[in-house]
Subunit: 412 residues, 2 copies
């Protein structure tokens, strides 16, 4: 079972005992003082071996328990989270000039997004800490997955969403029984209100950027990818980037696998941002290995799940991708939209816009010859059913006909 | 690998070689002449044992290949189909007066419905037969799953839908690259046109009721349920019923497991129909073990996936459930709607209306004391994300607030 050795500030490096600090480094503050979870890797290396994993019948992310901040199984919910399928496409890879093409479909998680990997950890930590309420600010996958994972527990869920939140997404929250506050203000206002309420009322705050344990859930996608590829991970891994927590988790996952000797080399992690929402990519391009620049923007992109102008996990994202030897690229909304249809038609995996973004990035790099001959994996972080309206714009049209064979024939 | 011994007419009992007949018994016609796939069960019993299955690392429905009509793995698509999670809820079971409560979530299939189990078989059979086009008439899960499973192949998909088809469902078809004909007519008109087109143009017809192989895919839910419960299946299994193919498949699955000695007793299969769409339940109530009455109706229910007034697989459904010792019950649309929210809130599984129907049936039977002390499993055949509009009607409302803690406090 996972034993946390320390929580270490990403900026000043100070280490805290998990009992001494809850969310972020008091010295560096909530934005620069995000904490990383440190384990005793020598112990983990003994507990988590290729042999132990091969023998493990558990087909969820909990198979990596020694590398997760969960001391026992008591509060693990029954919902099957993680160990999502990895598909490979030989012919399509050749067509794109790649050595191999893999797609990891996290749309098949219980609430249909990658965020289930983090929310499942949040409801465990909340219960370990004896909390009765969990909260989050989000209109999207983080909130709906928190509501879904709380549903089978005694936890109450309080969600803060900006008043512009799409009704369909609010519906998903409400159907799981969450109390939903529609805040007269922006996402950032809702985010800060959730944090204040957590503080004031003693609720557990699920915000992935300030809660050190959530990135731990998010790293499991990398662990699975490596294991599903028999510990020979691809040359590059592409993932969509909004607040920066998922890409941070994936970098940390690979790095820890190398630390405990399960992989020999790191795949290059490529964070893909939408052009209209790329503050992390911008910061990365200026990063000199010392201070991470934080310049928030007004973000706008069709890919709502990665539409983040004030990325709360920017410091980790830039630092980790730099350490990984990876990079960031951007894609246009037009490329993202086109990638939804291309991906669905060529791979059978229907992604939400944010899930299509890394595939758009792959197509862009392939067209530029940037990753010729390489093996590449794309992390699909959300199911296309989450945003049918956007898919409709690129799906094309049905053919209206009278019910006769002759008319059908005319259209063949 | 599965070897089909014969195709046997459900009505006259005549056996055909798979090479001699494609869809239904020529003598009994398309409605009464549906065919059942017969295997050499002695051979299957040797190939498929508790031990062989325990050692099998494949976590998809293809682990049951000896009991499927697939001679080799050549055309199996990469998409992870089947082996969906089974959840149990001890506390909730006690509350309902049940011995145990299980939920099998088929909303986690690649295109988010149970129909993937059948469509995955259809694209294999189409390719085995050298077909280049597959067709189906449906606005719903069958068509979208066919389009999804065809996407990664060279097969073209032609879908016929009534002109009243909801735009969102048409979008899902189009995004996978299907050619969609919006037929000026009812579902029945579209169904017949698809069959005619298949005949005329040599396309492969996916219609589950007339294609004997599709029920084979649909039976795998029963095989998994039994195996996931360590070959000690529950007392009752509840499943929603529209055209009758899924419930037929589930009965056949349990029956075959008993034949090959993997289970000792049959769970009682309870087919749940919506009150406004219950022609199979009506026929079953009159069934004397001889002739299945077929009285089509104009169906109406909120649960679109089981809204079928002219159930094409009624003969198998009635015959199989009778042989199983099972029964049919009906639930109101109001009960189905309420069950969507209850299920999401108590189990973390968000079902589409047709997936909530068997849960509504469970709640009805539990309230009547009909299944007191029994262990019960509910088959959830579709993801709630497929029909957000209906969920919205029972989800409740968000609370509009100004962004201050004081206002939040007022609402706690």
């Amino acid at each position: 079972m996972g034993e946390v050795k320390a929580l270490r500030c990403i900026t000043c490096g100070k280490e805290y005992s998990p009992d001494d600090v809850e969310y972020t480094c008091p010295k560096c503050g909530p934005r620069r003082g995000t904490l990383e979870v440190i384990y005793d890797y020598e112990t983990v290396a003994k507990q988590l071996t290729r042999e132990s994993l091969a023998a493990d019948q558990e087909r969820t992310m909990w198979r990596y328990l020694p590398l997760l901040p969960i001391p026992d199984r008591r509060f693990i919910q029954p919902l099957r989270v993680g160990y999502t399928p990895l598909y490979s496409y030989d012919e399509y890879a050749r067509e794109l000039g790649l050595g191999a093409l893999y797609i990891k479909d996290d749309g098949q998680n219980p609430t249909a997004s990658y965020k289930d990997r983090a929310s499942s950890v949040a409801v465990i930590k909340a219960q370990e800490k004896g909390k009765r309420v969990v909260t989050a600010a989000s209109t999207g996958n983080a909130a709906s997955s928190l509501a879904g994972f709380s549903a089978a527990t005694k936890l109450k869920t309080m969600i803060f969403v900006p008043r512009t939140a799409p009704e369909a997404k609010v519906t998903q929250l409400l159907i799981y029984g969450a109390k939903v506050f529609l805040v007269n203000g922006s996402y950032d206002v809702a985010y800060d209100l959730a944090a204040e309420a957590a503080e004031e009322f003693g609720w557990y705050n699920r915000s992935a950027a300030v809660n050190p344990y959530l990135v731990e859930g998010k790293k499991t996608g990398a662990l699975e990818l490596a294991e599903q590829m028999a510990w020979n991970p691809p040359d590059v891994v592409l993932v969509g980037v909004g607040d920066g927590s998922v890409v941070s988790g994936i970098c940390k996952g690979f790095s820890e696998l190398q630390k405990i000797g399960l992989i020999d080399r790191l795949p290059q992690v490529i964070g893909v941002q939408a052009e209209g929402s790329a503050p992390i990519a911008a910061s990365f391009s200026k990063y000199d290995g010392n201070t991470v620049a934080i310049d928030d923007i007004e973000a706008e992109t069709v890919a709502d799940s990665i539409c983040v102008g004030k990325p709360r996990d920017i410091v980790k994202a830039v630092t980790y991708v730099h350490a990984n030897g990876g990079r960031f690229i951007t894609v246009s909304d037009k490329q993202i939209m086109a990638a939804i249809a291309t991906m669905a038609r060529r791979t059978g995996v229907f992604p939400e816009p944010a899930g299509a973004a890394p595939f758009a990035g792959l197509l862009k790099l392939a067209a530029q010859g940037d990753i010729a001959g390489k093996s590449a994996a794309v992390m699909v972080t959300g199911n296309g059913l989450k945003d049918i309206a956007t898919a409709r714009r690129v799906a094309g049209s049905a053919i209206e006909i009278e019910p006769t064979l002759a008319v059908v024939k005319e259209h063949l």
